[in-house]
Amino acid sequence: QGTEDIVIGGSIPMTGVFAFAGVGINAGIQDYVKITNDAGGIKGRKLKYVPEDTGYKVDVSVATFKKITSQNKVNLYYGDSTGFSKTINPELERNGAIMMAGASFATELNDPKKYPHQFLVGPDYTEMFGILLKHIAQEKPGAKVAFVYSDSEFGRDPIDESEALAKKLGLSVPVKIMTPAGSVDVSTEVIKLRRAAPDYTIFHGYILAPIPEFITQGKQMGMTSKWMGTFWTMDSSTVMKMGPAGDGFMGVMPYRYYYDTSAKAPMLDKIRAMRPEYQSTAYMQGFLAAMLFTESAKRCLEAGKPLNGTNLKAALNSIKDFDTGGLIGVPVTIKGNSIPVGRVYKADMKAQKMLPASDWITL
């Protein structure tokens, strides 16, 4: 066994449209690396984290990957987007030494055959919808659920499969509305939505806009739908920005929020000790990614296997009923490329907090 550092490379969107997430992810990885190193590293080997900013542009991410991997012996990598994950996949297979996780929850990536060296740090988007639909089916059997999503790979990702799933769960999907990327004025879409009179509306493929406008106009028109979102909308600070429209907004979240003290969570305590101010869900994502990286590397080294993509991934898949220290409320098992666990949270504008609205749901 060598004593050289184990390197985690990172194409991190510290700037650009995804900066709000990148900054959190970066801090999360950093913190977990520090915790590990302070505890003596992995079997005597230190972790080294080498991030670079990408501005959330695929070509820059690729260049960053090339730069970091040609300057370091990299075994673990964090990538910033679906596009990057797909673009770099052939290179990962060729390189062979690296296991990668990233900020993308694209359904396509949840395929161990096509993406043998990658994994998702949570449920994929279809699974997120699954969790929401399961919750809806329980809360109001036979409900009408509208899907509103953006015209992008991100937005379209879970729609078709989720519609099928909704049917299976006895729900109906009276309308699916796709909005062009970057559109601001959604009044015609709202009219269409109102006509469908859904009981639930799930937004996907957005961060914030145009969700608040949808809700405001919908409410003005007398809609009674409940409004829901997926992971990247669900950070506490994002939902709070919705203002009055955001009250009661629900969505799926695989991790506990920073301020969630409802159950024992030693890791969250540690995070709160390290960083007294609120940390985003993206932070949690980065933190958990680093945790799983470390666990896989540890298992690899313990088994005396060289660190490479195949071994690391096998180690990851050997994880069973793993305790994340409370970041995820239930023990996790990683069979394939994702962690299909989550919980529905609901915004409470008075408390300025996201509060649990369901139990942990495992698919």
Partner: protein, 345 residues
């Protein structure tokens, strides 16, 4: 007969590289290009390939916009056409690498010609905006057609040449760079003949060109076709280089990037297209290096991307305001300064 110069013949007068100085420097450059892959890291090789692809595409746009005066904001879309053609042929037909590239070029060329049809009636910036329409229509097709893999796009196995998979930057370098050089020579030759002259005439004043014997529609379409052929081949190379194409791979911003490249480099000169593409591709990378050199650079990282965006804009503005003829003109001035250095005699 008085020619007034010391050229031996008119042929020599029209040669691309005539002086001994030029030829020597050319040899030096060629040697550097050959040695480069053996000295550079994977990262630099990656950049070299990217630069080379961009040079090819920028040169194509230069033919259309710099020489023929037809402003196009569709260059990325034409690259996309080429890339998708290559992707589809490679994944579904498994035809050989070079054939796919050529097909990519021709499909893009066809697209270019179709987009060029309004150019007879629609002029100037009206036309430029109309070419944006082409980008969006192309995007729509890529994203909504199952044949092209929808929003998810297509993944492409490595190209193989003579049984060797071209799966590293090092191997791709030996294909991409020579192809680019061939395309550059082609473009340079073009402007020594009646075809290139006709393009320039159309740029300068199309209605009088017509009366002087140049069929406008044919030549405008030819220019669109050639330019998008270059874009298509560049897009094909791009596809083999990144090995995945998605509808988002060729955004409008990329078309703007190429337009910026030829402006910064110098419109209407081959050298300008080269210098511009190299410069604009390298600036963000160099900027990153500069940032890394700053004391406690980590603190400023959040500013890197905005700064990059600002610098991209400032470069365009700065060149237009202070050096409208671009890097090519600066280069000429430097050359005049050194004159025949080091072969002064």
């Amino acid at each position: 007969m008085r020619i007034g110069t010391l050229k031996e013949s008119y042929i020599a007068d029209a040669a691309l590289f005539d002086s001994r100085t030029q030829k020597t420097w050319l040899a030096v450059a060629a040697a550097l290009l050959v040695l480069f892959p053996f000295m550079a890291s994977d990262y630099w090789l990656y950049l070299a390939c990217l630069v080379s692809i961009n040079v090819a595409s920028a040169t194509g746009l230069n033919i259309l916009t710099g020489y023929t005066g037809l402003v196009s904001l569709g260059q990325a879309a034409f690259m996309g056409l080429g890339a998708y053609t290559v992707a589809v042929m490679e994944t579904r037909l498994g035809t050989p690498f070079l054939l796919n590239l050529l097909a990519g070029g021709f499909v893009a060329m066809l697209g270019g010609i179709v987009v060029g049809i309004p150019s007879l009636r629609v002029k100037g910036l009206y036309l430029a905006i109309a070419t944006i329409a082409a980008s969006f229509i192309a995007h729509f097709i890529f994203a909504n057609w199952s044949f092209t893999g929808g929003t998810g796009g297509l993944s492409i196995p490595p190209a193989s040449l003579l049984g060797m998979p071209l799966d590293t930057s090092f191997r791709l370098y030996w294909v991409i760079v020579p192809i680019t050089i061939v395309m550059l020579l082609g473009a340079a030759n073009l402007f020594r003949t009646r075809i290139g002259r006709a393009f320039i005439a159309i740029r300068d004043r199309d209605i009088s060109a017509e009366v002087l014997g140049i069929p406008l529609l044919r030549y405008k379409l030819l220019s669109f076709g050639l330019s998008s052929f270059y874009a298509g081949v560049a897009g094909g190379l791009w596809a083999y280089f990144f090995r995945v194409v998605t509808p988002e791979s060729f955004p409008l911003l990329m078309s703007i990037f190429f337009l910026a490249a030829i402006i910064v480099g110098g419109m209407g000169t081959i050298l300008g297209g080269i210098l511009g593409a190299v410069f604009m591709t390298m600036v963000p990378e160099l900027l990153k290096l500069v940032f890394d050199l700053l004391p406690n650079s980590a603190e400023y990282t959040v500013f890197l991307s905005p700064v990059r965006t600002i610098i991209f804009g400032l470069l365009i503005i700065g060149f237009l305001v202070f050096e409208p003829h671009g890097l090519a003109e600066m280069w000429r001035r430097v050359r005049r300064f050194f004159h025949l250095w080091p072969f002064r005699n």
